[in-house]
């Protein structure tokens, strides 16, 4: 397969988003089916790219306009990007199906457009090989995310969106200052070229620049001081969008942060930036778990739980060891599956029973057995009970943390897990032993998706090795910068 085909991953959602106004002429339902069709096509392309990258073991490199990097902008679809672009596409498809039922607010054509742009932005952030291009895709993601957060047009939605805009605006300014510093010191924006030039940057500039870049990305990646927007946005956004935020928008930010961290690993003073990220990540876990404990709204509670898991991933990625990065990538996959399932099921309860307060979940086991079963499996998996998928990645993160000498961080995460178990078990108890009668017919399509995700969780829980080998390859793609540089066909400029 010619590597240039990978550019379809960007081109298809973009061109499809522009065709939405034409499709709107055929009626409101058509727009939703069109959304499903486009995400399905995207899944097919992403699947083909994934198979190609993993079969040949070679990354696919798209050079925009045929200009060789660092003069031209390149996309780098290596093992990690291929895997996550596929996850983005599959999750988008599931959420497009869920939108059929879950989104009734007008204007649906704008929703479809923003949905596609959000998918495009996350795909681009994962696939790009250029620092400024990363910024552009980050802004595409965040501007469509701002708009989707406010989509329900309630006061709460506007409030959440405004918080997100302000923090996102500060973050993107920091990111640009970081870009300015790094560009001023090296004269290049290409990531592979940066990796080559990293050892020659003045240590102070490298540290400050990298820290600013990470701070800018921390807004998207929901790391501690900059994640105040996340629970509000998760609660106020339409249900499918919440699942997308948690399943891949965060992951795109985390990946970009990890990629930039390891690109600069030869710069002097790298270790101190790494330590900063570990501290931010550990605080994220700790603060989010204790906030989750206090919630009365299940969607918000799961939002906090999602943030704490993200902190765990960031902790693993910032350990600076290969084992840590691999475990982090494995956790990213598991977290995407589990949180997509939980937000899907909770969102479905929200639209059927008219709210996601804890009292609505009372006796759900008798009212909507399939949904309650999915939430139960998702919760048990999120806590990290053996036989479920997150157990395997969590234990690998903990082992990697101890090996890297961060025993305090590991202790903090273990303590936080106990808190997590408390509120998830409280939810399960309310669902199965609370009062509540009246059986409700469950939607077939949503039930099928939920069951598929449940089976995936159990499958990874029982046979983790298939996914573990894949995430090992993806982790090496991030960690092994020497190979990354070798794979990008740099023109011999400046180096």
């Amino acid at each position: 397969m010619n590597a240039q085909y990978a550019s379809l991953l960007i081109a298809v959602p973009l061109i499809s988003a522009f065709f939405v106004p034409l499709i709107k002429g055929f009626g409101k339902r058509t727009v939703k089916y069109y959304l499903m069709l486009v995400t399905l096509v995207q899944t097919a392309i992403a699947g083909a790219v994934f198979v190609n990258v993993y079969r040949t073991g070679e990354p696919m490199i798209v050079m925009a306009g045929g200009w060789k990097p660092p003069v031209g902008i390149n996309l780098y679809v290596g093992p990690f990007a291929a895997l996550f672009v596929l996850i983005v596409a599959i999750m988008s498809f599931f959420m497009a199906v869920f939108s059929l039922k879950a989104v009734e607010t007008e204007p649906i054509d704008k929703y479809a457009m923003l949905f596609l742009l959000l998918m495009l932005g996350a795909t681009g952030m994962i696939a790009t090989g250029d620092l400024f291009n990363l910024f552009v895709f980050m802004e595409i993601t965040s501007i469509s995310a701002y708009a989707l957060t406010a989509y329900n047009k309630t006061g709460e939605a506007a409030e959440a969106s405004l918080k997100y805009i302000i923090l996102g605006g500060i973050g993107s300014s920091f990111f640009l200052i970081g870009v300015a510093l790094i560009y001023g010191a090296t004269g290049t924006l290409n990531m592979a070229h940066l990796a080559q030039l990293a050892p020659y940057i003045d240590p102070k500039v490298a540290q400050v620049g990298l820290a600013l870049l990470i701070f800018g990305l921390a807004v998207e990646a929901e790391l501690f001081p900059l994640n105040a927007w996340a629970p509000d946005a998760y609660q106020a956004a339409p249900h499918p969008i919440t699942a997308m935020f948690s399943a891949f928008v965060v992951k795109a930010g985390l990946y970009a942060a990890a990629r930039l961290l390891y690109i600069m690993q030869n710069a002097s003073g790298w270790g101190s930036v790494l330590k900063m990220v570990v501290i931010m990540a550990a605080l994220t876990v700790f603060v989010a778990e204790f906030s989750a404990l206090r919630q009365r709204d299940v969607k918000r509670m799961i939002a906090y739980s999602s943030i704490s898991q993200v902190g765990m991933i960031a902790f693993a990625l910032a350990l600076g060891t290969q084992a840590g990065v691999e475990a982090g990538v494995f956790h990213m996959i598991n977290h995407a599956i589990v949180k997509a399932l939980l937000f899907l099921a909770v969102g479905y309860v929200g639209i059927t029973l008219g709210g996601t307060g804890i009292e609505k979940f009372s006796g759900l086991g008798r009212r909507m057995p399939l949904t309650a079963f999915s939430i139960t499996v998702g919760s048990l998996a999120a806590v990290g009970i053996p036989l479920f998928n997150i157990f395997w990645s969590k234990i690998r993160i903990l082992i990697a943390g101890v090996e890297a000498g961060y025993t305090w961080g590991v202790a903090l995460i273990l303590g936080a897990s106990v808190v997590e178990a408390v509120y998830y078990i409280r939810l399960i108890h309310t669902m199965w032993f609370g009062e509540g009668e009246g059986r409700i017919r469950e939607n077939l399509a949503i039930g099928t998706i939920a069951l598929f995700l449940v089976l995936l969780i159990l499958f990874i829980g029982l046979y983790p090795n298939y996914f573990w080998t894949v995430s090992q390859k993806a982790g090496q793609d991030i960690f092994n910068v020497v190979d990354y540089v070798k794979n990008v066909p740099l023109m011999g400029v400046g180096s």
Binding site: F132, F135, V136, E139, I143, Y146, A147, A150, K153, T154, G155, E156, A158, E159, A160, S161, L162, I165, I166, G168, G169, I170, S172, S173, L176, I177, V179, A180, Y183, G184, L189, P231, D232, Q235, A236, S291, R294, Q295, R300
Partner: protein
Amino acid sequence: MNVPDISVYYFGAIALVLIGLYAVLVKKNVLKILIGLSIMETGVNLLLVSIGYISGKSAPILSEGITASNAVDPIPQALVLTAIVIGVATTAMALSVAIILYEKYGTLNVEEIRRLRG
């Protein structure tokens, strides 16, 4: 050692960023916060342009008498053009959200807009 001429731009840019950040963090009115964000963006753009500036050279537009040797670095200028467009989109988005907020809450004071918490 003399302070090079260029540093005035750096100081100006950083000052703008800090003024903007101050407005975002301290002001209570949503519109003032958004103005602060815009000022911050302007500061960042100025910083980017001044990083590519070489004293005494002209704009990187290919015309008579201008060659690659006497023009400034064009890349930061391209970046700034993109960043300005993105900034406009963000500001438009934020202002429309502010309009909805005013309709729903009847105020633009951030201390009174607090239904989501905890």
